[in-house]
Amino acid sequence: MIKKIFFQLIFFNLFFLREVFGAESGGMPQLNPEFWISQIFWLIITFGFLYILLSKLILPKISLNLELRKSQIQENIEAAEKQRESSEAKLKEYENIISKSKLEANNILKEARKNVLKEINAKKKTLDKQVDEEIKKVEQEINLLKKSASEKINKIAIETTSELLVKLIGAEVNSSSISAIVDDLSKKNGAKYYGN
């Protein structure tokens, strides 16, 4: 590539060498007034056109573009700021809601505990009552049984003594007299057997 450019350069230089040797030279071409008027004329025309087109068409567009971009960026920044603020507010709200709900949950838990305790107490009471009643019933039954038991024992005692007397003496004894003796004995020793 570089070689190619180099040889091209040489070629072009040789090409121009001929031209240069052909041309008459001497002094600065800038000081030759032959084309001064032409240069001034074309400078005024080209620069005039350039200035008019740039100032009337192109530069206002560029400045408008720049301003639009600036304002757009500003707007975007403001919108972003707004959104940030709103999100912060929402975050606060959310935190409030969470703390509130925590409190509520605590309250609910306390109430529930109270209710449960109340229920438990109520049930305990009713259960205690039931238990007491049943105990009473059972005690009554026991008392009844105790009473009936002493009577039955008396009966048994009377019967056995009458039979024993029949076998021992061979004569029947009036059961009423035996029962009177048994009653008397049971009254005497009842406290010793039953305790109360």
Binding site: L9, V20, Q30, T46, L66
Partner: protein, 244 residues
């Protein structure tokens, strides 16, 4: 010596000879490159401003960067009063820049390497600035030549120096641009000639010089356009904000 390094500055007719009265206004290679530069500027900036997207395309970025670059240069040197002259200074900067840059392409013609072109531009700026100064400040504009805080004894001398420096502005402005462009292009041509005359054996050194000079010249092409524009801004600043 191979080629005369000055032949690249020769102006020649392209097409027929056009005469208006006694004046020859034929289309020349200089005219061609003025037209080409102007068209290139118009095409690039037209494409760059056609549609406005939030994320600019490359060519849009280029145009907007040059817009902000020139507008910042003007507001920095001449203040906010110079805003109405923005498009003129922008056109001047772009025209000089593009003419310089087109001159960097081999076998093209550098419009700004001609004293007549740069002088017409500089004279236009000089006359315009002077008119603006007199319109804004009336005869108070002449205070520009009387700096404050100067001893009365020295005043006549200072005033004469100031007037001379003011009148030499168009000359210095035009000669700076013209001489820079001409010198650079001549030097490149001379080194190019050395490459040819020294041949494949010894031509590498001037070739490398030539390559380096090309980079330098591109820098100079930009710099001189910038200097031209910024000096215009400074002159405009003198005319708009008269503080001395």
């Amino acid at each position: 010596m191979a080629a005369n390094p000055m032949t690249q500055f020769e102006v020649y007719r392209i097409g027929p000879e056009i005469k208006v009265g006694a004046f020859d206004i034929s289309f020349t290679n200089a005219s061609l490159f003025m037209v080409v530069s102007s068209l290139a500027i118009l095409i690039i900036f037209n494409f760059g401003s056609k549609k406005n997207s939030l994320l600019p395309t490359k060519i849009q970025l280029l145009t907007e960067l040059s817009y902000t670059f020139v507008s910042k240069m003007i507001s920095d040197t001449a203040g906010s009063k110079a805003k109405p002259y923005f498009s003129l200074i922008f056109s001047l900067f772009m025209f000089v820049l593009f003419c310089n840059m087109f001159g960097m392409i081999p076998y093209t013609f550098t419009v700004t390497s001609h004293i007549i072109v740069t002088f017409v531009l500089a004279a236009f700026i000089f006359i315009g600035v002077t008119i603006i100064g007199f319109i804004k400040h009336g005869f108070g504009y002449l205070k520009l030549f009387v700096p404050s805080g100067v001893p009365v004894v020295l005043l006549p001398l200072i005033v004469i120096i100031e007037i001379i420096s003011y009148l030499s502005r168009p000359i210095s402005l035009s000669v700076r641009l013209f001489a820079n462009m001409m010198a650079g292009h001549t030097m490149m041509k001379v080194f190019g000639g050395f490459v040819i005359s020294l041949g494949v054996v010894g031509g590498w050194l001037p070739l490398s010089f030539s390559v380096a000079l090309t980079g330098l010249e591109i820098l100079v092409a930009f710099l001189q356009a910038y200097v031209f524009a910024i000096l215009t801004c400074i002159y405009l600043n003198d005319a708009l904000n008269l503080h001395h």
